[in-house]
């Protein structure tokens, strides 16, 4: 009797981690990887409004996708947005981190202020910036009321400039987070190295350029990966800020995917665009994960 209890207790103890993990494992397997495969299949069918799983057409939808003008616009916009977003966030984040690292007073308070936008959802950020940048409502109106009548800032409704407002809002939201990453990296540098640099006669600028920033390589890589996948996935910010407009001036791959799949009855093409985005993100993240895990195995 007592023997059997002990063995069943042993069995439970040995398998408890597996038991606890298995539901989430099954759910992830089905809803994430299952639906990736499902989407991949749909992208090779002639699905329009509803999935039509038996109408296999091979890569026809991908061909269509690349001939669609909207997709070209979306890619151009992604190129502009992605490049500027990653670049400005990185530079600004590093700059803020360096300034915060000067042993200033109230550092914790300032750090929180810069980090707070990250706590908002992109929808809130987008809406707030929409109001702020709306010429009839926000910055421009206020400036006019203060008497600067020649002041004009109409990027939000200017098709040529609208994508840059997305950059502004995105940078505002994320640069604090990048700052926190860089700050952690800066704090990890041995204080004695800075003293040694001082004795070696390096100026503050030279110390940063020659000694500190080269040591932040891993942080640069992490920041790039985080920002790049956020840029490619960005959907909510664009929807809240410009709704893809004016016209289709701020169309990005994610909004393209949504509208083709769910509102334009082009589910096959939408699924194809989703697969292209997935591949792009995978191309960035998989090598990164590979490098990370390999490093851990070595060290």
């Amino acid at each position: 009797m007592s023997d059997t209890t002990r063995t069943s207790g042993d069995w439970l103890r040995q398998n408890l981690p597996r038991l606890v993990l298995s539901p989430s494992f099954a759910i992830t397997l089905f809803f994430v990887y299952g639906f990736i495969l499902y989407t991949a299949w749909i992208s090779m069918t002639r699905s329009r409004m509803l999935p039509k799983l038996d109408s296999f057409v091979g890569f026809e939808n991908y061909g269509k996708l690349w001939k669609t003008l909207n997709w070209q616009i979306a890619l151009d916009n992604l190129a502009i947005f992605g490049t500027l977003y990653i670049l400005i966030c990185g530079v600004l984040g590093l700059l803020l981190a360096i300034l915060l690292d000067q042993k200033i007073r109230a550092e914790g308070f300032l750090r929180t202020i810069y980090l707070y936008p990250m706590a908002l959802s992109f929808i809130v950020t987008g809406t707030a910036w929409k109001w702020f940048l709306n010429p009839g409502l926000g910055l421009e109106k206020s400036m006019h009321e203060w008497g600067f009548h020649s002041f004009s800032f109409d990027w939000l409704i200017n098709p040529k400039m609208a994508i840059y407002t997305v950059v502004i809002a995105g940078v505002w939201q994320t640069s604090g987070f990048v700052m926190a990453m860089f700050l952690a990296g800066l704090r990890g540098i041995d204080n004695e190295q800075l003293k040694a640099a001082q004795l070696d006669g390096a100026s503050a600028f030279q110390t940063y350029r020659r000694i500190i920033i080269p040591q932040l390589r891993a942080v640069f890589l992490s920041a790039f990966v985080v920002l790049a996948h956020m840029a490619i996935k960005s959907y909510d910010l664009v929807v809240a800020l410009t709704g893809g407009g004016p016209g289709n001036a701020t169309e990005v791959p994610a909004t393209f995917m949504y509208s083709y799949t769910f509102t334009r009855n082009q589910m096959g093409v939408g699924a194809a665009s989703a697969m292209v985005m997935l591949m792009t993100i995978a191309a960035i993240i998989v090598p990164y994960l590979y490098a990370e895990t390999r490093e851990k195995r070595h060290g």
Binding site: D190, E192, Q193, K195, A196, A197, Q198, L199, D200, G201, A202, Q206, R210, I211, P214, Q215, R217
Partner: protein, 370 residues
């Protein structure tokens, strides 16, 4: 010529005073070791000499130039840090030449200097490697190379050997000593290890609680410690400090020692005029373990050898010697015997006390008498 002079230097962080008026003078070519327990202010003092910490009051001169407000890079010093502080993103060659590059030395000259130093430290095969590919001892050499290449007036070492394993530490210690003898450079070296201090220094400054306890040659500190702290800190095992009464025996000052079996003996401490005033008063007797020996290993030419039977409480063999613990005046006292002296726990042994090197301390002030 005075190379480094520290005059009445104070350091305070807010209301906490960490250095309370330090005065040290060393000559060119001296090897000064700052030694003391952790928190005694020795590293702070070194950082102040380097210019990495500000001076609250007082004056530091390097070759007669006051450097209180001089930038670290213009003090003509070089420093070896505890963590070596090598730049991990540069290879060994770049690490060594970085300081020269910052001083705008032409590339060709830099190359020559690096090659020279690399040869001296035997790190030529490592020049193209990154610090992460080096062992602890190799990093240590590179860190020294970075200091040597600058040819400064003073080298500063901040506990440079504390990150090495015991064997390597001894090797590097010898190497540093050789280097000092070859180059004749002025060195200030911080350590908490009294053996390092004894072996390396030409002058030791021993500190405690922000106060300089004694400044002198290793022999002076060892044989004439200024107070009980210095006596206890230098030497391993440390000096036996035994409370005793100073009495007159045949007109000569002597201390009374009570053994474990309640029998007492009188040990004359030599006729030092300063002792006369202390006769009949309690003192603290300081005896180094090597002055309490078996009969065979006693210093035969000493005029003050006294013999007595003592009960051995504990023996600690170290291979070459055996440390025997006996009881005198209720205190455990360590003596250093030959391994073959036949000391056995619980048995009596004829012990020789060599009182030539005995010192007496004032129990109140803890300062040395005489």
């Amino acid at each position: 010529m005075s190379s480094l002079s520290i005059r009445d230097v104070h350091k305070a962080y807010g209301p906490t005073e960490v250095l309370k008026g330090i005065d040290i003078d060393i000559d060119s070519g001296d090897f000064l070791v700052l030694v003391g327990p952790s928190g005694c202010g020795k590293s702070t003092l070194l950082n102040m000499i380097a210019g990495l910490d500000s001076i609250t009051s007082g004056e530091i001169r390097i070759e007669d130039k006051v450097v209180n407000d001089t930038h670290p890079s213009e003090r003509d010093i070089a420093m070896v840090f505890q963590s070596y502080a090598l730049y991990p993103n540069m290879n060994v060659e770049k690490n060594i030449s970085f300081g020269l590059e910052m001083r705008r030395m032409p590339r060709k000259q830099r190359r020559e200097r690096v090659a020279e130093v690399a040869q001296m430290l035997q790190i030529e095969p490592l020049l193209k490697r990154k610090p992460s590919q080096l062992s602890g001892g190799q990093r240590q050499r590179v860190a020294m190379g970075r200091a040597l290449v600058r040819e400064p007036k003073i080298f500063l070492f901040d506990e440079p050997l504390s990150n090495l394993d015991a064997k390597l530490r001894v090797d590097m210690r010898t190497e540093i000593k050789k280097l000092h003898q070859r180059l004749g450079s002025t060195i200030v070296y911080v350590t908490h290890d009294q053996i390092e201090a004894m072996t390396l220094a030409t002058k030791i400054a021993i500190m405690k609680g922000g106060v300089l306890q004694q400044l002198g040659t290793p022999a002076e500190l060892y044989n004439q410690p200024a107070n009980m702290f210095v006596a206890g800190f230098m030497g391993s095992p440390s000096m036996n400090l035994i409370p005793a009464e100073l009495v007159a025996s045949d007109g000569e000052p002597a201390v009374r020692m009570v053994r474990k079996d309640e029998s007492s003996m009188l040990l004359p401490v030599g006729d030092n005029p300063a002792y006369r005033d202390w006769i009949g008063k309690p003192v603290i007797l300081g005896l180094r373990p090597e002055t309490i020996t078996d009969v065979g290993s006693a210093e035969q030419d000493s005029p003050l050898l006294f013999q007595g039977e003592c009960l051995i409480d504990v023996t600690e063999p170290t291979g070459a010697d055996v440390f025997a613990i006996i009881e005198l005046n209720g205190r455990e006292v360590v003596g250093r015997m030959r391994a073959s002296c036949g000391a056995k726990v619980g048995e009596k042994l004829s012990v020789v006390f060599n009182m030539r090197h005995a010192v007496l301390f004032d129990p109140q002030t803890e300062g040395r008498i005489g």
